[in-house]
Point group: C2
Chain length 378, copies 2
């Protein structure tokens, strides 16, 4: 377990370099930490791992200099870097499978300690939809929740605006200096006075369409529940709802007319069992008991209750895979997602050896990780 | 059990006189039939029963002449009288606790053999609500259902109109010569060509507000399921939904905007577990398996599957209550609804004696029967 007191600025810099290196996402970060025991050791092992995985070129490792430059930029913007395991790291987010090891936060850190509920929905929302989102956000804010959303046009913006005074949290898909959409720069500034902006993306990074689903896992991951207001079929809000379900979060939806295409997705969620919401009380009734359970005190926010898991074996040197073993494991993988458990079973190799080969492939940019312990070759 | 072949015209006339007599509703009718074995015997016993129950004046018994006059009027209008237990009596309706012993039907009797689904909702419906009801009724009609509704303005009229070609059933709160609202006389005539109008009310009877809830039990009772489209709080449609639940019918509701007062009742139903409907398939998915069970053939529509229940004891003379016993039973009753089972238990009297006293009180106009075996003094 990574204990809060271990995360010195030096160690945080190593973490930062590791998570900023090519092909290292939150899951790979966790696996590397498990295997090598520290980010420093993992950074040293990266080139060899990538080479063994069969990387075409050389995978870029974030240099100390680049890391320091970005950290200085963050500091200038008033962005704090919170490590998984630190007391201020949002404790629900710490429990998700792919929690960011480092969270860049701007605004009031105390807002991250509030119980959170997400409100998301259509960008091309109806006036009634926005009005409902505003009413709900205001009432949930007054009930003590921080409203989490994605700073998008429509429902998201309405939810943030109506809960500014209570502390609202916007999760960005890009870097802190790349507010999207641009017309919401003013709203983002307003959020900072009582709430916070959160990002895991590098400074200077402008979000692309494919970044939003990954961002959405943070919206649902931060919150105890997610309310969907006006979602069309195949909309981003439905992705957030699916992620929320995978993360064990409560899913709520506002009903809409069967003739309104903007309600098709939310009505469909209701058919699938989402809780119907017409007022804040519907959310509070469900989340109240959940939040009523003794929550970890700040001092243990990243301790037993979540954070980086205890390694299954001591982070002492595990066996390295032989070339025959590596080939056998790779032969079990293909473009269709396969279960890591199956790969372990079918390969006859030990779990740690299989994980090591998967790590190598991942660092070589040849592996894709899906939810539910599934992987495929790229 | 009353067998179809027993219901001759003479016997039907006795039934008709009995159900048209003061204070005799469907439940009392059934109890009298149980106790006396025939309507003729019950008619003879009525004056004495009412006197023993403490009737203030004399309860009116429908004379043979009055009955024959009304029956002649029905015949002139083309109205058939179907008795509970006859093959054409709608078999689902036969199963409800307070099924009318006689049903006055005008139109195509074969329409009563179709599987039925009710669509009801707000009189002051929105244009979108009516459009949705129409779409749903048309699609359910084409799927083989007869759409049942109440001929009211708004949702009801839309549902009837859109399913005219498939055979739609309107249940009237008044007599067949008292179509309400008057502007729907043309719609009622149109329904007759493929569907039917149903009433249990006497010819010439103009419905009052308090008659509609009683009528609503027939709408839900005929149908395998009830769809509520646009229902405000405390609306008649919610009464129909409640009755449907009591009768074990499936309850469906169309969702609406949380900001639309016309959707408050239907959204509330959804919160309470009604099935959300945005298209006919949502209804068919639920009702298909129910209707897929082998349904009673017309020849046994009123047989084992429903109809008047077997008397618990032969309809031979049961003991008559003594005056002390009667007083004790009455003392257990009051203005708050009490369970008949409790009254039996607390009185120490036999169930048949308690039922006899309740019958007396009912015929004297002093007893009100509620759902779920509850009664109160008036």
């Amino acid at each position: 377990m990574i204990k809060p007191e271990l995360i010195s600025d030096d160690i945080k810099l190593d973490w930062f370099r590791l998570i900023r290196s090519d092909h290292v996402g939150p899951r790979t970060f966790r696996d590397l930490m498990r295997h090598y025991g520290s980010a420093q050791a993992a950074l040293s092992a990266l080139p060899d791992l990538a080479r063994r995985g069969g990387a075409a070129g050389s995978a870029r490792i974030c240099s100390r200099k680049d890391a320091e430059r970005e950290l200085a930029g963050m500091k200038a913007l008033g962005v704090s870097l919170i490590a998984l395991g630190e007391p201020t790291y949002p404790h629900r987010l710490a429990m998700i499978d792919d929690a960011p090891p480092l969270l860049a936060v701007r605004g009031i850190l105390a807002a991250l300690a509030l119980p959170m509920v997400a409100i998301v929905g259509a960008r091309n929302a109806s006036a009634a939809g926005v009005r409902f989102a505003e009413r709900l956000a205001r009432d949930l804010g007054e009930a003590g929740f921080a409203v989490v959303s994605g700073l998008a046009r429509g429902i998201d913006a309405g939810a943030h605006r109506a809960s500014l005074a209570c502390g609202t949290i916007a999760v960005l898909a890009g870097g802190h200096d790349q507010i999207y959409p641009p017309e919401h720069v003013g709203l983002a500034e307003a959020i900072l006075t009582q709430g916070a902006l959160i990002s895991e993306a590098p400074l200077g990074y402008a979000p692309r369409a494919r970044d939003f689903p990954r961002r959405n896992r943070l919206i649902s991951g931060l919150a105890a529940g997610v309310v969907i207001v006006e979602a069309a079929k195949r909309s981003g809000s439905l992705i957030t709802a699916r992620l929320a379900l995978e993360q064990g979060r409560e899913v709520f939806a506002a009903p809409g007319s069967p003739l309104d295409p903007r309600a098709e997705g939310s009505n469909e969620l209701l058919k699938q069992g989402a809780t119907l919401v017409t007022e804040a009380a519907d959310v509070i009734t469900v989340l109240g008991p959940i939040l009523g359970r003794p929550s970890p005190s700040p001092a243990c926010g990243g301790g037993k209750g979540g954070g980086v898991e205890e390694p299954e074996a001591p982070a002492s040197p595990a066996g390295e895979p032989g070339s025959g073993e590596r080939a056998r494991i790779i032969s079990l993988l293909g473009p269709s997602p396969a279960s890591i458990d199956d790969v372990i079973r079918l390969s006859g190799s030990s779990p740690s050896i299989v994980r090591m080969v998967l790590l190598e492939l991942e660092l070589a940019g040849r592996l894709e990780r899906h939810g539910g312990g599934l992987v495929s070759l790229l």
